[in-house]
């Protein structure tokens, strides 16, 4: 483990659909840290996460992951990044187990290692009863759990979760929070994008608030800037009354 942050983002910008989706975004993230990314719809959260996952190329700025330039070498995502996109896209014709095996193999695991890792995720995400069920017939909550399992199956150093608690019941949400904290304790850096402030309070160490593509707030969770609570800070920014 080094003192350098695992992830360093500097001056990241990207336009989408003819408008600036993310502008001059800079932040860094250490191993073991959980960053909550907040913002209203259209704030640029998903665009940011897509760039950090390697699915979208920034138009400007740099992303350094584990000391390497991620923009010019997106291949390093293979072992280092695990991404759960919004709405957990899956192959409807594959079973839960096949998804996990496929993702582990795509990440370069041997057959035996893939099997071991898939089994571990099935146990950890309580997907045992669904092991052979096709993704196409899973409920939204079950799909979400499978999406999380696919993002974590290769034990990535950087975990990117876009609205991971979507459609999860309170018990499953609690389990997900525990899992995120477990991974962070094991040294992974986690970025968790959500609309739910309670989610951030429950699981994150730090919170970043995006508004109209710009980073408007980045501070430890319990750092009450100007004595404001997170909720007050968020609403001030979201309504345009904030910093």
């Amino acid at each position: 483990m080094t003192d350098l942050p695992l992830l360093n983002v500097a001056g990241l910008s990207r336009r989408r659909a003819g408008r600036a989706a993310v502008t001059d975004l800079s932040f860094s993230l250490n191993r073991g840290e959980v960053l909550g990314l907040l913002g209203v719809n259209g704030a640029g959260k998903s665009t940011t996460l897509s760039m950090l996952a390697g699915a979208l190329r920034p138009e400007a700025g740099s992303i350094t992951l584990d000391g390497r330039d991620f923009v010019t070498h997106p291949g390093i995502a293979r072992s280092l990044v695990g991404w759960l996109p919004e709405a957990a896209p899956l192959w409807p014709e594959l079973s839960v187990e096949e998804h996990l095996l496929a993702f582990a193999r795509l990440r370069g695991f041997s057959r035996t290692a893939a099997r071991k890792s898939a089994d571990a995720m099935i146990v950890r995400l309580q997907l045992g009863d669904l092991r052979r069920r096709l993704a196409g017939v899973l409920s939204q909550g079950q799909r979400q759990r499978l999406g999380v399992a696919c993002a974590l199956v290769h034990d990535p150093a950087l975990i990117i979760l876009d609205e991971p608690a979507n459609a999860l019941d309170p018990v499953q949400t609690g389990e997900l929070r525990k899992l995120v904290r477990e991974r962070a304790a094991a040294g992974a850096a986690v970025i968790l994008s959500t609309h739910v402030l309670g989610e951030v309070v429950a699981v994150c160490d730090r919170v970043a608030i995006l508004h109209e593509g710009r980073l408007r707030h980045d501070a430890p969770l319990h750092d009450k800037a100007g004595g404001k609570t997170l909720e007050a800070t968020f609403f001030a920014i979201a309504t345009g009354a904030g910093p």
Partner: protein, 251 residues
């Protein structure tokens, strides 16, 4: 390793989708019927053929027409098999997920292409089994049959590559299939205008897919024909890879 993982994933998806099985069952049934009809005709004409000098044999009258029938079906079958490869995945969001595993676009394209190629090879083998079984008990022209099989295999590989390129170009599987069909038909008949004007030879004739397949179906293996197929496959896969690589810029 990851190339194999993409191929295995795609094969698994093909294996569980009803479309692949339905196409295989219907086309093989149709080809078997064509084969039985061709064989019946061939047997019925034995007396007439016996009286001819240099009479065409089983290979010319039964086996090669069967492969030509498969080639005709392939115009429709291959676009259907390739339409969802990338277009469907782009539409459902799984393509971005696949790209986020750090796989280079060429690995995704080639992995999927190999999976379809394997399916098409089995399709060709199932069809070829019919004349092979009968040919083993008669006097088949094995050299000519090998050349015709090579030609059909190259045609399937080319159509699959065109299908992959068209699937990479859109998010709509139906549009991908239509594009692949049109591109194939254009390549098949690109010299029709020149022929109608009484012009033969030249670049347009070389560009036409039919020219190269017909030579091979006649048992004529010419390097320029093989090069045409290899170039068409390479160009299509390069275009697909470039388009997929561009997804990171375009989305």
């Amino acid at each position: 390793m990851s190339l194999g993982a993409v191929t295995r994933l795609e094969l698994r998806r093909l294996a569980v989708r009803p479309l692949a099985w339905a196409i295989a069952a219907l086309t093989i049934a149709w080809l078997a019927w064509s084969f039985v009809l061709g064989l019946g005709q061939f047997l019925g004409d034995q007396v007439k053929l016996a009286g001819m000098a240099d009479a065409p044999g089983f290979t010319d009258l039964v086996a090669i027409p069967l492969l030509a029938e498969l080639a005709k079906l392939a115009f429709l079958v291959v676009p259907l098999m390739t339409m969802s490869l990338l277009a469907g995945e782009r539409r459902t969001g799984t393509l971005a997920l696949l790209a986020s595993t750090g796989l280079a676009p060429w690995r995704i394209v080639l992995g999927k292409y190999l999976a379809v190629l394997l399916w098409l090879s089995l399709w060709l083998l199932a069809t070829l089994a019919m004349p092979l079984v009968v040919g083993a008990e008669s006097t088949a022209d094995w050299g000519k049959l090998a050349a015709a099989t090579l030609g059909t295999a190259l045609l399937l590989a080319t159509l699959a590559a065109i299908g992959v390129a068209c699937s990479a170009a859109t998010s709509f599987p139906a549009i991908s299939a239509a594009m692949a069909l049109i591109v194939t038909l254009v390549l098949w008949t690109v010299d029709r205008g020149a022929q109608a004007a009484g012009i033969s030879g030249g670049f347009l004739e070389w560009l036409t897919m039919a020219t190269h397949l017909q030579n091979l179906l006649r048992g004529l293996v010419v390097s320029s024909d093989l090069i045409w197929f290899v170039l068409a496959i390479a160009l299509s896969l390069i275009l697909a890879t470039r388009r997929l690589g561009g997804d990171r810029e375009r989305q």
